[in-house]
Symmetry: C2
């Protein structure tokens, strides 16, 4: 659902978007919602005909910029299938979260504190320019921050300054004001935004909505 929200928005902005999957035919012929309740892809495809579905390696070859919007548990396998040669030298936006829902809500993290999924992705694909971002809010807010009133913030973390500039430009296309984008530093700072997920999912339960974000309030 997150990938579709991003793909639809990027396509609407005029970008040429390809979504990667393991098995194109299988993805297109599914008629039931998946285990998370995501409606079948074919229906979404009809409304988003400019977005092409392709195998992971084909999507990797296509992209100038690659977005990892898989579930955290499948992230590494999806990126391996995309191919390190297709990720080398490219900006890799990572918004996957290493969540374990097996104990119910709020989920636990499978990686925390001394490592992060963002760092693991960067280590596994050392030639990719990994930028962790977008992973601290609901999909609809990621691509349309004006859904919420006033000022609220988004974070970026990564080792490459140029890659972070590219991602900042992309975020401003989504509607994020430059001054609301906070650069937390190197990819190690992915720990901060991934660990914030405990607070995020706790708030989802308490507020009974996904329609919120945090704002940093300064003196």
């Amino acid at each position: 659902m997150v990938g579709r929200a991003l793909a639809g928005r990027l396509s609407g902005l005029g970008h040429d978007v390809v979504i990667g999957t393991r098995d194109v035919q299988q993805t297109l012929t599914r008629t039931e919602p998946d285990s998370m309740g995501t409606p079948p892809y074919s229906g979404w495809q009809k409304d988003n005909a400019t977005v092409r579905l392709a195998t992971f390696p084909d999507a990797g070859t296509h992209g100038e910029l690659v977005i990892n919007a898989t579930s955290g548990v499948n992230a590494m396998a999806a990126l391996e299938a995309t191919g390190s040669e297709n990720l080398a030298g490219k900006v890799l936006v990572d918004l996957a979260l290493p969540l374990d829902f097996s104990g119910g809500m709020p989920p636990r993290l499978t990686i925390a504190n001394t490592d992060s999924l963002g760092e693991q992705v960067q280590r596994a694909f050392p030639d990719a320019l990994v930028v962790k971002t977008l992973n601290t809010m609901f999909k609809d807010i990621m691509v349309d921050p004006a859904r919420l009133p006033g000022h609220h913030n988004i974070f970026i973390a990564g080792n490459d300054t140029g890659a972070k500039e590219t991602v900042t430009t992309l975020l401003t296309e989504f509607g994020w004001q430059q001054e609301t984008i906070i650069d937390l530093g190197s990819i190690q700072s992915a720990r901060a935004t991934e660990m914030y997920m405990q607070m995020y999912f706790n708030l989802v339960g308490v507020l009974d909505t996904f329609e919120f974000n945090i704002a940093i309030v300064r003196a």
Copy 2:
């Protein structure tokens, strides 16, 4: 420093405050700042003469409500010295953080994800009514939220509804508006606020100030 900020504020509000320490004479006779740069207690005592210094068990006997403002690594020992019999049936406000600064800034947590210091304190003192709060911001903002403009939030977590009501009243005395106090649920939710510390200390570095807090922005 956090304990002093709370003690000074509570005393100013008319509460009868005792600070617990291991060795009263040693605390009073120190003339050098400690390893964190905290100035010696004696100077602060002169400006806050209404706050009495006592041994941990004497402080425990005194208090109707006990605040654990120790460093996370010393929290359990300080509470054991205070005495489980002195904590039984009382509201125990826990704002200690299980931080490990040995790897530099930002610190790591020594407990995270599958447990929290708040839960450990509640398990170690099952008859205490533990409420985790105040642990997501700088000391000066804890006791005077109006230092920051507009709306920003504070969190409470604990198993006992009455204890959370008592703590909410205390927070409103500090200046927290009722609607800015978010009850995250049981003491297990201490995980959320303790894990937020990774983001907090990352932001301290990036913003180069402790003078900030987060606000939840809703649709």
